[in-house]
């Protein structure tokens, strides 16, 4: 009997009246590793952020293990893109991993020995234990990613949402991360990861979701990861903005929108 880890219903998100996600209806069973692929601007990160409540949708709803997100927070772990933080912040690897437990500790109380041990265990699983006291501004890309994963691991969640976990990491780190993910799956957890490398899809994932503003296809890789679906997903390879923005020359608007800035 398979429970549904994630149920998404009519999820639609727009940014500045440009749709980024349109009428997404997916059901993801538990205990699988699912990848999300699609062109730039297709809404992959936005999809994850909408589930977590970081982005407010225009329409639709999501349920995690049958419940709304807020009541099941403790069962979800989030691994954001590593570019989303400032690595010059004066803190150590161990400290970052312990941050994952702040939700459990609650307000005001301090993390104690128990939390420290949990963090060290998580770091060990990712081969980072000897770096636990290293300052984070001295880490390589792969080490940064592993720190983030340890932070997610320590939360002992059931659903893991990862945004480009393999982006910009070395081959060894990629192996370590994949082993961890497989390990989690064997324990019955569900992992959903935004991915960018089409060559490794079949090797890494059980299910694949192909997204280009609309959900083009979702299901087991063997059935769904076909040439036809890929063509449909990547056909309008430019950011969808291009089709929906009025086709006049807008010097300031276009260049900065494409860079994602606001001026």
């Amino acid at each position: 009997m398979c429970k549904k880890a994630l149920e998404v219903n009519a999820l639609t998100t727009a940014y500045n009246n440009n749709p980024v996600l349109w009428d997404i209806n997916v059901d993801v069973p538990e205990g699988i590793i699912m990848g999300i692929i699609g062109p730039n601007g297709a809404g992959k990160s936005t999809f994850i952020k909408s589930i977590l409540g970081l982005v407010k949708p225009v329409a639709g709803s999501t349920k995690i293990y049958g419940k709304p997100y807020k009541s099941i927070r403790k069962k979800i772990a989030y691994v954001p893109q590593k570019e989303s933080v400032d690595w010059d912040f004066p803190t150590t690897v161990l400290d970052v991993v312990m941050m994952g437990l702040y939700g459990n500790i609650g307000w005001i109380k301090r993390p104690g020995k128990k939390e420290k041990q949990l963090a060290l265990d998580a770091l060990e699983k990712l081969g980072m234990k000897e770096y636990c006291n290293r300052q984070i501004n001295k880490l390589s890309g792969g080490q940064q990613q592993r720190t983030f994963l340890a932070r997610a691991l320590v939360q002992d969640a059931d659903l893991y949402l990862m945004d480009e976990p393999f982006q910009g990491v070395d081959a060894l780190t990629e192996k370590v991360i994949m082993n961890l993910i497989k390990d989690l799956k064997n324990k019955g957890k569900t992992i959903i990861a935004v991915h960018h490398n089409l060559e490794t899809v079949l090797e890494y994932f059980d299910w694949i979701m192909m997204l280009n503003v609309k959900c083009i296809a979702i299901g087991p890789c063997k059935e769904v990861f076909t040439g036809e679906n890929l063509a449909k997903t990547y056909s309008s390879s430019q950011a969808p903005y291009q089709s929906f923005v009025v086709k006049k020359d807008r010097s300031i608007y276009k260049s900065s929108i494409l860079r994602g800035e606001k001026i």
């Binding site: 219903n9 009519a10 639609t12 727009a14 009246n17 749709p19 349109w22 009428d23 225009v58 329409a59 639709g60 709803s61 010059d88 501004n137 929906f244 807008r250 010097s251 300031i252 608007y253 260049s255 001026i263």
Partner: protein, 373 residues
């Protein structure tokens, strides 16, 4: 009305002051646009404060409070401070905001020290210095205007000459490097011009408020257009309008310092632009977003009913609730009724089905892969 305008032109002092304010408005509007687009809006704040030690030291060295001397001091200090700022960002992990804060407070602190040295000197000419702290447009003299005019004129001519290079600097400096343009030197040139704009305005609005003149007219004009040329010219115009209006108001009211009034007028213009500009303005945006969100939800529901009706004749409310993009049944019913009014749906004993018009619309949506009609 005519008499009022005539009286202004005949009042010699007022004429001088208005001219000065106008020059200030145009220069700060135009150069402020560049600063805004480079995300360097608060640069004005830092440089205005940094000018203080320059002014004080210039006075101490030359014992003269002639505006040219003081302005030169301000220029040199402003220039040094912007170099310091760039060095901090370039050589350390400190980000731009931190560098601004450091330069602003340290230079100004140094200025205070110099000022206290000046105040010990029993010399009445130091009264001119106070103008620079808070600005007093009403005390602008013809020489001041001439200096301001010349400096601004030079700045604007340089801007015009280097227009293409500045444009490249803002949007794509790496490309400029790759085609062989000396982007670093152009960067320094632009920063120098901004320093000039600030120093020109110091006498009118004073140190604290000068930053507002670099930000408000440019931000206001930004709301009206996406084209660089128009934005800059409009900013100059709005800047001049704020300064002139502010000066007029302050001259007619007693006990009213000019600087704050000019700033408030420019802020008012900004707020009006923010709300009422077409396309980008808030009111327009809210309206469009509301309309669009409504359309989106309608289209989703319509498509859903279309698919369901393939196997059934019509769809009941409970079916629709399963899909419910609205997260509330009241809203769902409202939207269904709205679509009924537009003749896209028909209702019969609590069940809904598409009309011919509705079917046509769904087919059109699917065909064009379009999200909106």
């Amino acid at each position: 009305m005519i008499e009022y305008l005539l009286s202004i032109f005949q009042d010699h002092t007022l004429r001088t002051v208005l001219l000065g304010s106008g020059i200030l408005g145009i220069t700060s509007g135009i150069l402020g646009s560049f600063a805004l687009l480079r995300k360097q809006s608060l640069l004005g704040d830092a440089i205005s404060h940094s000018a203080l030690p320059g002014i004080a030291i210039a006075f101490l060295i030359t014992k003269s409070s002639s505006p040219i001397i003081l302005l030169s001091g301000a220029l040199i200090a402003g220039w040094i401070s912007s170099i310091c700022m760039m060095s901090i960002v370039r050589f350390t992990k400190i980000k731009y905001d931190g560098a601004l804060g450091i330069i602003l407070s340290v230079f100004f602190g140094l200025g205070l020290v110099m000022l206290s040295v000046v105040q010990k000197i029993p010399d009445s000419r130091q009264a001119g210095l106070n103008k620079f702290l808070f600005g007093q447009a009403a005390t602008l003299l013809k020489e001041d205007i001439t200096t301001m005019g010349i400096l601004s004129g030079i700045a604007l001519i340089i801007t015009f000459v280097f227009w293409k290079e500045f444009k490249l600097l803002i949007f794509n400096p790496e490309f400029g490097d790759s085609i062989g343009l000396p982007m670093k030197k152009i960067d320094i040139l632009l920063t120098c011009l901004i320093v000039v704009a600030i120093v020109v305005g110091l006498q009118t609005v004073g140190v604290v408020l000068m930053s507002a003149m670099l930000i408000a007219p440019a931000s206001a004009s930004r709301q009206w257009t996406n084209r660089l040329e128009i934005m800059i010219i409009l900013a100059g115009f709005l800047g001049a309008m704020s300064s002139v209006t502010g000066t007029l108001i302050s001259s007619k009211t007693s006990n009213m310092p000019t600087g704050p009034i000019i700033v408030l007028v420019s802020f008012l213009i900004f707020t009006l632009s923010l709300f009422f500009a077409p396309k980008r303005g808030i009111i327009n945006k809210l309206f469009c977003t509301y309309k669009n969100n409504l359309k989106i939800t309608q289209n989703i529901l319509l498509t859903y009913i279309y698919h369901l009706c393939n196997s059934k004749d019509s769809v009941g409310l409970t079916e629709l609730m399963k899909k419910n993009p609205c997260n509330s049944s009241k809203k769902l019913i409202k939207i269904l009724k709205q679509m009924e009014n537009s003749n896209l749906l028909q209702e019969h004993s609590d069940k809904w089905k598409l009309t011919l018009k509705g079917v046509k619309k769904v087919r059109k949506l699917q065909l064009e892969g379009d999200f909106y009609d």
